[in-house]
Every structure is written in C-alpha cells, then in structure tokens.
Amino acid sequence: MVKERKFLKGPRLRDVSTYDFPGLKKAFSLGPDQIIQQISDARLLGRGGAGFPTGTKWDLALQQQGERKYMICNADEGEPGTFKDRYLLEERPLKVLEGLIIGAYAVGASHGFIYIRGEYTEPIKILRTILEEAREEGVLGEDIFGSGFDFDVKLVRGAGAYVCGDETSLINSIEGKRGISRIKPPYPIQKGLYDQPTVVNNVESLACAAEIINQGAGEFAALGTDNSRGTKLISVSGDINIPEVFEVEFGSCTLNEIIEELGGGVRRGKEPKFVIPGGLSTAALLPDELNCSYSYEGIESAGSSLGSGAIIVVGESRDLVDILLKVSRFYMDETCGTCFPCREGNKQINYMLSQHRNKKFTSQEVELIEDIGEAIAAAARCGLGQTSLSLINSIFAKFSEELIEEVIQVD
C-alpha cells in the first residue's frame, strides 16, 4: 500500500508570532555559499514544471553583479489540473516565505516579490496578513534576526494570464508591461526584473529549500531516486474518487498506484481512458503505460513528463474530440500573441478541431495538425508554446483508430 511521505506537508502553519523560522536562522549561520552548497547537494530540481536545478540557479545568481538583485516567488499556479501550490500557500505559507528569504539571502537579493495568481483570493488574504505580521516581527525589513540582512517582499496579484507563469512574462507583468515572454538569452538570472539579476522560484521549490536547510540536505537527498530527489506534491484530479494534493516520495510508487491507492481509483469505472501525468502541457499515457515509477525519469521513459505534478485522470466515457477542443481552446486563449507559431498555430488548430464535430479526421488533417505542432514545438518563443501541442498530438497518436479515418488502399 502506497503511503504519503510528508516532507513538506504538515500541520497548518500561518502564525508568524509562534513560528520560529528554524531554517532561516540556520541559513544565517551557514552563510550564502554553504546554503547554496546544501541546496545543490540535495539536488533539488525546480518544481514549477521545467525541473531546472535550484542550486545551480542560485549559484549563478550569486555570481551575478547588479545594482540590486530580485528574488521572486512564482505563485501564478495556472497549469490546468495543478493546485499543489495552493495547498502550500493556504496551509504552510510560512515555509514558502522562509524559503524565499533564504534564497534572497543566499543570492544577495534585497527585494522580493510573490507573484500570485489573481483568482487565489484566499491565499492572497493569508499572504497579506503574513507579510504584515512578518514586518512587525522583524522577519522582513532591516537586519532580519540580527543577521545584518535587509529584505522585504511585495505581493503582486496576476491579472489572469496563464502565460505569466512563464518567468519572463511574469517579470514583464510585475513591471506593468504586457504579459508576454522575453527573448532568452539574456536569462532572468542575468537581466530580469528592471534589467537586474533576478531569481524566479516556484512555491514548492521554495518550501523544499526551507525544509532542506531546516532538516538537512542529506535528509532530502536520501529520499527518491538518483535523478529525482526528495518528495513531490501532486495534484490528482479528474475522474477519480479522491481528488486531492498528495505528497509522494519519488520512485516509491507507480502512477497506477497513485491513482488506485491514493486516489481511490477511477470514478465510475475500472480503467481510465488515459491519464495526463504532468499538467495540460504533457503527453497523455494509456492505462498500460501507467506502471512507470513516479519520478522524472520514470515518466519520461513512459513517453511523457512529470511537469508540474498535476495528474489528470480521464474516464472511459469522455469524448475525445470534446477534450481536444477544450485543450486547444485553452491554448488559443492563453497564447500571449507575440510569436507567430504559437499565436497562429493554436488558432488554426482550434479552428480545424471545431470543424470536426462527430466526424473522423482525415490523415491529411492529422498530418497538418502534426506539422503545426512540430513547428510550434521547435520554434515557439517560450515554454507555453513549445509544449502547447504535446497533449493533443499524443491523443491523436494514441487514439488513431477512434479519431482518424481508415485509409482504404486501392490497388
């Protein structure tokens, strides 16, 4: 029986006056180099979806020179099916704040931001209160805990654009510009917010960092597999009996076990039609592909990716074309409109799909959709575009009999 491994999860933690910030205090005694060493030793990978090593990011940021540096918490959790950051922001926000301050201290950032999804009204309220209390208690402000380190955090509410979860778009949004991606390089580490070195970390990554410093890198690195250390908060939803945020140790279970044992099995049925393992930007997996180990490499070997940890279960009765349309509608609405492949590609795909209700697709049409998908994946400007067709293309590939007209060979 699969069990949760609670490294991040825990009792509600929202009262600044009674929380001791053990990780932060330890961080101040370690100093920046040691902190970064610990994060690197723990081999923490960014939890937002891209999986970039957090220690490397902080190390690069530490080495950058700038008038000032910025540390940003990306709480613009918008990947459909993902709600694990919401759990942390509502239940364990002090761990997130702690991670943010530790990161800022490690890289030498004087100003912080929490960029939060605008619809997260409850977490916004909670964070507002916490930031105020933290200033009163001296957790933010000048000379935090007598360390000589000054740092304050501003809460910025997003305006509803999915693309602002992309770090460069998020930075534009904070600057008051249109939420559109920037060309990389320069990376935010080199030239980010107001052209200064900027670190953007996901909510869960920061909570992990706080726990790594608190509990020790060894504790964290001992969990999981070689390539996927620690635990992961997963958001399980869709046609499942227990939709919930679970915390699992990497490699301790399979996708199938998560669905059956933690999620209580598929709702109204035995088997899912397919499962989306990492949010809407990842390829679908069929029931017989679910016996892969839950880890970055495990899901990759099954042909998809772990993404943000959003596991969406799709039941047998669901209509594929309807799903395709909804997915493509999402990307059409959410493309920022800057680069041509993503803007025009997602529009065209939505148009083509909308023309085909109750019909099968011709192989020419599918080829065209694949070609557009290939062009977007290869040439789009940011991660949103590059992955926007992953799911749709995988559904066409895996359900070709159901979706595509049979080609009758004429001799």
Partner: protein, 575 residues
Amino acid sequence: MIKLKIDNVPVEVEKGTTLLEAARQAQINIPTLCFEDDLSVYGGCRLCVVEVNEREQLMPSCAIEAEDGMEVKTHSPRVRDVRQTLFELIIASHDISCELNCLTCTRQASCELRNVAEDIGINRMRLSPIYRGLDKDLSSYSVVREPNKCITCDRCIRKCEEVQGIGIFANSARGPETTVTTFQDKGMGNVECTNCGQCIISCPTGALHEVYHMDGVWDALYNEDKHVIVQTAPAVRVAIAEPFGAEPGTVATGQMVAALRRLGFDGVFDTNFTADLTIMEEGTEVVERVKNNENLPVLTSCSPGWIKFIEHFYPEHLKNLSTAKSPQQMFGALAKTYYAETMGVDPEDLVVVSIMPCTAKKFESKRQEMAGDVDYVLTTREAAMMIKAAGINICDLEPEEYDNLMGVSTGAGDIFAASGGVMEAALRSAYYLITGEELEDIDIQPVRGLDGLKKAEVPINEELTLKVGVAHGLSNAKRMMEMIAGGEEFHFVEFMACPGGCIGGGGQPISAELSSAETLKRRMDGVYSIDSSKKLRRSHENPMVQKLYEEFLGKPGSHKAHKLLHTKYTPRGLS
C-alpha cells in the same frame, strides 16, 4: 573573434554578432519578417530559426549571438520544413481574400511576404485564412491602416518608438486577437502621429499605406475645364525611377518631367524653385533674427512631420520656428496667384498637384492655415503608379526641361532633399545676405551625411560666427531639442522628420533588395551630384526668383511675401 560553422562554412565574426548577421557575412540568406536593421530584436515571426549544435529546439538567429565552436544549420530539412509551416500560418493570418487580394495591394510590386515565399521556396498552402473583420483606420489625412493585412510583426511599433521617438502604436488585446492599434483605438488622425509615414516603409505586408490622391488627380487630368499643374519635390527625382527597376539614386529629373507631360499636366514645375525662394525668405528671417537676437535659435519649417512633432511635444518652442512656409506650400500659394495672373487662368479652374517623397505633405496641404493652395499631394510611389498605369516606362523617355516660370532652380534647391541640405543652402545665401560677398567654398561638409546630429560653426565676419545644427529622424530631433533646452547655443537648426531627410521620406519607393542605409546613401549621392553639376548653386542667383521679386513680391520679407509665403503654427500638446 568568434569562430563557428554555418552550413559547414567556417565563419569568423566579432563577438556580439548574431547568427543572422554571421550568416549574412557568409553570404547565406536567412528569411525574416519581423527583423529590421536599426530596430530592436523582436523574435516574433520565427522564420529565421536555425538548428544549433543539433539541438531539438530551433533558435531564432536574429536573437542568438554566435559562440565559439557553434555548428549552425540554416537550411536543414527540419528547418526548411518548420519554416514552410510557419509561413503557411503567417499567410493564413494575413487574410488574402477577394477584398484584400494581392493585385490591389499597395505593395503588389514590393511585397515582403512574396519575397519571403520565394526565399523559402514555399510549395504548399494547406490552411484557410480566418477573417478577422477589423475596420480600416481612415482617420488620418496621410496614412491608412488596414489591420486585416497586419501580421503583427510590430515593426511599425518599433519604428515609431525607436527611430521616431514617438510611439503612437501599441499592441492591444491578447492571443490571436492581438492587434496593433493607436492609443484607445482613437485612430492615427487623432493621436500624436506626425504623419511621417516611416511606419509604411517598415510594414512588410501593405497594412499601412498613404491616403491615395491618385483618383482625384486622374479626374482633374481628364477634366478639360481644369488647368492642372504639378510640382516635383527635390527628393523625388533621385527615387522615382526605382519602381521601374533603376538603382536608388538614379537621377531621372528630365525623364520624370517628360512622363508627367505625357500624363497630361498643363505645366510641369519644380518645387526646387520655391526651395530657392524659401531660402530667400527664411534666410532673410534668420539674418534679421540673429541681428536682433530674437527668438534664437531659428528652427526650420519645411518638414511637415517635424512641424506636427514640435506642435505636439514642444509647443513652447513654436516661436522659434521660421515663419516661412514649406516649399510645397509656397508653390501652391504662388500658383494660385502669381502663376494664375501671369497665365490668365482663373484660380478656380487651376488644380495644383504636388509629387512629394512625403506622406506628411498630404496633411500639410489640408492645414487650415493654408488649405486650398495645393489640391492634391502624390507620394513618389503614387506618381510612379500613375506613370506605369499610363503605359509609360520612365527609364525609356528622353529627358525634357521643366516649364520656365516656376521650373528653374539652383543647386541649393536640389540639396533640400538630403539632411543638412536646407542648412547648407541657407548658409550659401546667408553669407551673401550679411556680407554682400559670395561664400567661396560652398560645399559645407560638416552638415552633410547620415550622422543623426550634426553641428557646424561657420565664420561670417569678424563679429559673427554662425552656430548651426542639423537633426534628422524625430528621435534625433528630440535629442536636439533637449540640447537646446539644456542651454546649448545655436543660431539656426535644421530639422527633418525622416532619417536621411526627404530622400528617406515616408512616401518614397520601398526597396526590397537594399538596406535602408544603402538606399539612403545612393539617393544622397544622386542629390549632391545634381548640385555639383549645376552652374548656379546659390538660391539668390536664381534668375526666376529674382524676376518673381521684381515683378510680384517686391523684396524678401515684404508685406506681400509675408501674406503669401509665411504661416502660423498650432500648439497641439498631447491628447
């Protein structure tokens, strides 16, 4: 130096060179749409993507700097395939329909999309265009926007903001609805647009073009009751042969005159004549104002884009502007009086047409201060279209002379076409007006060329050294105004709205092959070659201008000259 391989060709480039530039240095052409020299990198069209070190993700060559040891593939099978699909998507967004077809497009002969199609070798088009149903912007006297043709490459946005320092355009809406528009969708006629038309030059798809006056001119020409005369601006003659296949800078003055006569104009005249006249009026004004130390520096007034710019952004400096009308408007005022009187034509039956390198001249002709003097303004492009439509190839014609009365000019009038030319022409005559002697060396090199800001000190006599400045392109105009506001002293400053001056005007032919800098350089060489080949090179030597003063105006700055040849300005401020 950075060493890399592009398509297996070893290339050495300076650090900081982009892959696109490096490829060009290796004679490899990578197609682009949103890229333009002199503008910031946008990285939107993605046509310039290349394979780098066999990585899965293709990289935009316009934005990626060359690094040591890179292996770049610019035309691999995968790149070519992706590019074709991208192009299919772009064409589908460009809305080719019955209403918007290539044949009636302003860019039918110079379409960048078509050039890119050729560069890519496009051989498939599987997508149907999705009609966007956007309204045309017809609010401006000078420029029309057709948003359905816009592919949102944002070159107009960047041109207006970065080269012209204004920024009337911005993106609005999101995703597939993203459009280019003006502040609050007010339309180009209702914002701080200077009508310079530089956005037209940058638009790759014909979504921006001038407000056409061709139909009005055709009607006038076909109307036997009308006496129709035309004036041609200095910068037109070095560009009008381009649409007929000639190199930029080809001097086609006489052929142009012949073509216009064949079109049916009753008189073919030269704006250069009134350019010389402008020097007499403005030069006299400068000399007076310098003598009296009154409202210095004097700022030139012949570029209508610059005039609208200063009216919006520096209305407190309107008193510094010369009150002299532009050569186009001086011509119009004289045509409806002096010419009509001399020729015995009823001004009611007289139609005055200008051919200008400029879209702002269309607005200028409609200004309430002088409306009615010039009836129609054609851009160089429109004039070329009309000549073609009459079955004439300008290059094949024998040169003819302008009509005499207002067709004679000196080299000083010719150089009005290039940045620094008005200044140089003014100095040639101001020297004479102050000292009574002729300036020996009249090639005033420091004010020539394509530097954005130019300064010179010209010793006139023992008491006076004239300090002059020249700015072209409105972001340079802004810099110059800030220098003046900061206390830098000048007597006289020339401003041209367009980069390079009128030769780079928003109404000039658009060259698909040459860079804008090269085009400007060639046109500029053409202009100075005309000047240096002329016997008379000082405005005050123009015999027909002298005759005009003797018979009609009296002397420069006379009451009559003021009434006809000078104007007022409108403080507009910001909307």
